[in-house]
Symmetry: C2
Subunit: 256 residues, 2 copies
DNA sequence: GCGTAAGGAAGGATCGGCAGACCTTTTGGA
DNA sequence: TCCAAAAGGTCTGCCGATCCTTCCTTACGC
């Protein structure tokens, strides 16, 4: 619980004046970009499993409240990158590709900002752990327990492990009943996946991570919010340390 | 720490399937909207104090990476709503209006979504409290202590209290050293202000809230992350209960 | 083979945003 | 005193994103 094992320098309050964030660049996402992002993330996280059929275009563009031409731009982009396959005619549709294309290695920008991503993840996941401990229903907890049990059988297969891991973490967010938190969690998991998917994860590490899932869930069952926060902190600190070890060159190069 | 005092029903894991959030409407903010939002929030939160001079238009649009015409749209909008005043000529500029216009009462939509806002705030603030306890520097903690001391003298003047309260919470985010967290905090505080600013706050309530600030800060000083999470949870639960008491009509009307 | 349900493609209208030049009002200093 | 500099205010033309609408093409089932 001390900072001794933490290799980041202490932060001065003046280093990041809030005015810098007020006057930071405005980056407005277009509807096309956000659609590609949302669908792409959902596919890469396995929320939309391979083989799943998407709603028909005319239906989906109504749900998303965008024009069909805009939606099609996004679908075409995801089809070209190999994440979707479209078949025409009655009974056709747009399907999540099976198998999925291999994930691209993380870009330099993503690597440069990995600490920021980890910070954001820490904030979101710890907050959600506390809220889950406060109000998760019994059935929600049972569902999470089933996921933890399933993960025990996936320690040798990292892609499958990771998909179940995502289900667990998103499940925590769902158990709070707030759709905003689910969105925040999926976005964060998407950002983490870009960092995580390309590094080696020995089964022992995954096993101990799932032990942490178990302890977290036990804290949730006891409604012990402080313990939930502590377990989640420990859990995330694990991957943070792995990343810090594997990406040493980037740890201090991003400060101007 | 139990759920007995919590008036919200337990949440089922199927109630908010993650697919609903994937296919939720896409609302792309325009550069104009985001600029109005950012500057307006900063002004309303007091991050830009009345009388402050903004950077010149030609300079500001460079920082924000938008065209001057777009920036001007935003500035004109904020001037028309009375938040900014512009004077021409050499030595002129755009200034934060002094005094500020009275805050508008919260809209029906904002009131309908107040639980969601509180959930988001809980997630963000608890996560930030933990991160702050992990890594705040000594000078950052001293700055926060000064704010807490200053608040003791403002218990009779709610607007001043609230501004200092915001400085405290944003200061926690700044102490983590992550600009993303500062942004998340300011957005959340902006949303909360819409709810909070129009309800009565007796000095005793503010006093006990500042006691919670003090205990939180003590936990941060001890690097006790679990205690920081607990204190923050308690602190936020306070305002949540006040809102639950004052807005009873809206507590169950938003579920479809 | 015909209707229907799906993806695919093309037109024109609208709007937001950008770039740049230009105008008007002040005021500090040569 | 006067003028150049520094600020906000205005105008025009252009581009790209998005929208709506209509039509085409493919495939399945009756």
């Amino acid at each position: 619980m001390s900072t001794a094992h933490h290799d980041r320098p202490a932060v001065d309050v003046d280093a990041a004046s809030s005015l810098d964030t007020v006057f930071a660049p405005v980056h407005s996402q277009t509807a096309f970009e956000e659609t590609v992002d949302r669908l792409g993330t959902a596919i890469k996280l396995g929320l939309l499993a391979p083989g799943t059929r998407l709603p028909a275009e005319r239906e989906l563009c109504t749900k998303l409240e965008i024009a069909r031409s805009t939606l099609r731009q996004a679908l075409v982009a995801l089809a070209q990158s190999g994440h979707l396959r479209a078949t025409r005619g009655r009974g056709g549709g747009t399907f999540v590709a099976d198998p999925q294309p291999p994930a691209a290695p993380p870009s330099a920008e993503v690597l440069a900002g990995w600490r920021d991503v980890c910070d954001q993840r820490m904030m979101i996941e710890v907050g959600i752990a506390v809220l889950t401990a406060e109000r998760a229903s019994g059935t929600a907890i049972e569902g999470l327990e089933r996921i933890v049990l399933a993960i025990d059988g996936l320690l040798e297969d990292f892609p499958a492990y990771r998909r179940a891991d995502i289900r667990f973490h998103v499940g925590l967010a769902e158990a709070t009943g707030s759709s905003r938190l689910v969105t925040a969690m999926t976005e964060t998991q998407g950002a983490m996946s870009e960092l995580i998917s390309h590094i080696a994860h020995p089964p022992e590490v995954l096993d101990s991570a799932n032990d942490q899932h178990r302890r977290l869930l036990s804290a949730v069952r006891r409604r012990d919010e402080a313990a939930a926060a502590r377990e989640m902190t420990e859990h995330l600190r694990g991957t943070e340390h792995v990343l810090a070890g594997l990406l040493p060159h980037w740890s201090s190069a991003s400060q101007p």
